[in-house]
């Protein structure tokens, strides 16, 4: 049977409403007043963009909410979307010293939303670009978080920036791929408009390699930034994969953002393949759009899922069910439509997951959502940038300090560089790349906000605060050392 929309508009909208609603002004002040205003705060160190979190929270306590937004956005131009989509429990809030006092951490994400909502609602621009440009131009491929981070930083440094994207609007996955109960696309589109007001030009509907050639961009610009993210969803490689009700999870989520909710078709019995955060986003939204059952099917156990623990909890709360140590071996069709999944139990043999023979059964379902990862852009990148060095996993090789690639005037950031991380990592890498480009073209260095120097102290005191605070790069180095 073809699948249909299941809920009316009002019910669907209510089901997909914010799971973390905005703080009222007094709630925000009370929460902000709980912050200890740590020095060299661990939350700053845990933020990939190094937002001076204690400072912006203190500004909320003094009712300088616009100033709070400036502190946030100067470090992270996508502060509004990160406030909603960051896994804060794994980042800033997970580092909050309140946890060591056996208290709830400060709700940094919601406070950040409070500040960025304030300037968005009042139409206040806290970031500015110099009126006089520096005469240099940069082309940016991809209007996702990495590209936007790079574009905003370069615009503020005086560059003429043009961003190219194949979609009809900017924002990348922030606009098209985030669960609705975390963020509405309008927030992301607002961020794009803010960056437009910094003087950045956007060209949409552009297919790289067809409409735009990298060689031309390199000829007409001083530098190029690659922020093209990842490609389409990986294929399952099983029979029945091309039936109409076998849908990429990101495409399903994009429909929720681009169509009226009451027109999004949803199965009554939905199967989601995969164990990552996208699988969670898909299974919870299927359930919230009226699916009677929504089941995650994952080849390994719950402990191996790449989804964060709080995402797993959310799915369970939403009534999703889980089949662990299970693999799909065939999509079963009836009259040209999905009728079920042939599943089999799996076991780990010699470190690899393998189907256990003789354990097969058919689980009825009418919609299969694929969340088994996205393809790397290796072939596209190879065609666009001959000589661009990629690693064995298809990621663009780069200098982690500057994000410069093997081609001197080509920089990279976001999922194309990392293989797939958080929005906040992508913004951070884009911003870092902008500073790398600035260092290359202008010989100048730019740094993030600084805490006061300890230069002049006797005995060479160590730790952060010499001339630059500890940032997440040092944290990662420490983590890597174990």
């Amino acid at each position: 049977m073809p699948i249909q929309p299941l809920l009316d508009a009002a019910t669907a909208a209510a089901n997909l409403a914010d799971i973390k609603p905005p703080l009222a002004p007094q709630e925000a002040r009370i929460e902000a007043n709980r912050c200890l205003f740590c020095y060299d705060a661990p939350c700053i160190m845990a933020c990939p963009t190094g937002i001076d979190i204690p400072t912006f929270i203190r500004k909320i306590t003094t009712d300088n909410v616009t100033g709070a937004a400036r502190t946030i956005l100067e470090a992270n131009v996508l502060g509004a979307s990160c406030a909603r989509v960051c896994p804060t429990a794994m980042l800033c809030e997970g580092a909050c010293v309140m946890l060591d006092l056996e208290k709830d951490p400060i709700q940094i994400g919601r406070l950040q939303r409070h500040a960025t909502d304030h300037v968005a609602a009042l139409g206040i621009d806290v970031l500015h670009a110099p009126a006089e440009k520096n005469g240099r131009t940069v082309a940016i491929l991809g209007a996702g978080p990495a590209g936007l981070g790079c574009a905003a930083e370069l615009a503020r440094l005086g560059y003429a920036v043009t961003v190219y994207d194949k979609k009809p609007a900017g924002g990348g996955l922030n606009t098209y791929g985030i669960a609705s109960y975390k963020m509405r696309p309008e927030v992301s589109l607002d961020e794009v408009r803010m960056i437009e007001r910094l003087g950045v030009a956007f060209r949409y509907g552009v297919e790289f390699g067809r409409d735009v050639q990298a060689a031309d961009l390199l000829a007409s610009h001083d530098a190029v930034f690659i922020g093209i993210g990842l490609g389409g969803g990986n294929r399952l490689g099983i029979p029945g994969e091309d039936l109409p009700e076998v849908v990429d999870a990101l495409d399903f989520i994009e429909q929720i953002h681009t169509r009226p909710l009451e027109t999004v078709p949803v199965g009554r019995r939905v199967a989601v393949l995969g164990g990552g955060n996208t699988a969670i986003d898909a299974v919870t939204q299927a359930k919230r759009l009226g699916a009677e059952t929504a089941t995650i099917i994952y080849r390994r156990g719950p402990g191996e899922m790449s989804a964060y623990p709080f995402e797993y909890d959310l799915a369970k709360t939403d009534g999703a069910t889980f089949l662990f140590d299970t693999a799909a071996v065939e999509v079963v069709a009836e009259q040209g439509h999905v009728a079920g999944l042939r599943l089999a139990k799996t076991a780990v043999r010699d470190g690899r997951v393998a189907v256990v023979p003789g354990t097969e059964w058919v689980e009825p379902c009418d919609l299969v959502l694929k969340a088994v990862g996205q393809e790397k852009q290796a072939s596209l990148l190879g065609r666009l940038f001959p000589g661009l060095e990629l690693d064995a996993r298809g990621r663009v090789v780069h200098d982690p300090a500057t994000m410069q690639t093997s081609l001197p005037r080509v920089f990279v950031g976001g999922d194309a560089a990392s293989g797939g991380r958080e929005v906040v990592n992508a913004v951070a890498e884009g911003t870092k790349a902008a500073r790398g480009i600035h260092a290359l073209l202008a010989g100048a260095t730019e740094r993030g906000p600084l805490q006061p120097s300890r230069l002049g102290m006797p005995d060479g005191a160590v730790g952060s605060g010499f001339d630059a605070p500890i940032r997440v790069s040092e944290l990662e180095a420490a983590l890597a050392k174990g």
Binding site: N33, L36, C38, Y39, M457, A461, G463, S464, I470
Partner: protein, 436 residues
Amino acid sequence: MADLSTDFAGIKSPNPFWVASGPPSNTAYQAHRAFEAGWGGVVWKTIGEPIVNVASRYSGLTLGGLKMAGFNNIELISDRSPESNFAEIAAVKNRWPNHAVIASLMVDTRDRWHEFVKRSADCGADGIELNFGCPHGMCERGMGSAVGQNPEVAETIVGWVMEAATIPVIVKLTPNITNVVYAARAAKRAGANAISLINTINSITNVNLDTLVPEPTVAGRSSHGGYCGPAVKPIALNMVHACAADPEVGLPISGIGGIATWRDAAEFVALGASSLQVCTAIMHHGFRIVEDMKDGLSAYLESKGMRSLADLRGRAVPHVGDWQQLDLHSKRVARIDYEKCIGCNLCHIACEDGAHQCIDLVDAAPYGLGPGRVPGKPVPKVRADDCVGCNLCSIVCPVDSCITMTPVDTGRPAMSWHDYQAALASGAMQPIPPHP
């Protein structure tokens, strides 16, 4: 239970907690409610020629989300007639014969003082408190703090009161004066039976940054008002101590100023107070707060082996003296308990920018030290040799008993500034070199 019963200059009450003269003691209704809640006494809102009040009257100081950390008012004395007030005092005394009711008075001429003192005794009040303290409104008419700020005038008026008084007289002192002891001595010279302090402190709590008119606002204008509440307690404690320690004063002291808990009360008693008056905390939370004040004070006395308030009264007075009596050789240093440290580094930045640069941020690893939530995060470490023992780090630390100021034995005998000057004069020692 420790004995909390109080005999204050002959005024008896079941406990030392009195409702101070102010909005909570304006009516018989409130007095009944106060006594039902457990208060030992009520100092009636000041009776005088009826006045006219304004709207608004109060403003509050909010600190870090804490409401009423300080409080200010421009309300005047009772706006009810003396007849109503004295009649209600009589009714309250009739219902509560073992509780203290004190008539607070403020009038101008000698005859009026004689009349109001007599009417107070006639209605059955246990005592009289002379309001020489209100710093707003009434002082512009030659009363309130205008009296309290001039010891000679105060002495004259107390003298008039004592000519007619048949019940104990308490003089309420204003803190809006260079040295409160002179006012206390004037009360003593004129024959007063006791003093109470402090009245409110002249203040402007805040300015409305939209209208640029301070609060409380009356039709676009404001006026300075009396400041009180928890924020004034340190000022009150100092003045109570000054009066308690002065050999010429020698009067029972009713402590007033920011008392909100049994701990505050115990501190006032330790510095010499015999009864305790509370207003702002009642205005914030109601009469019910007295239950914990009594319960907590009694438990504290018992825990220290004290049977009554007399065992605590004045015990802290001899511990306070002039700076020159302090030991210049005493040393203490901050010690951080890394089992408790949460890594906020507030001690570091406070010492670094606000004090004496003695707490470094160091790599945690070589010390095997605390907070492990963020790897590689530096931890604070005190350079004990350089620590001046100022307390700042232990004050800013948000964790109970994480930073302890630990005495260090210098092996040197105690030496006061006085001793030091004498030793220098006799050539027994060289000057202590200045701090580098």
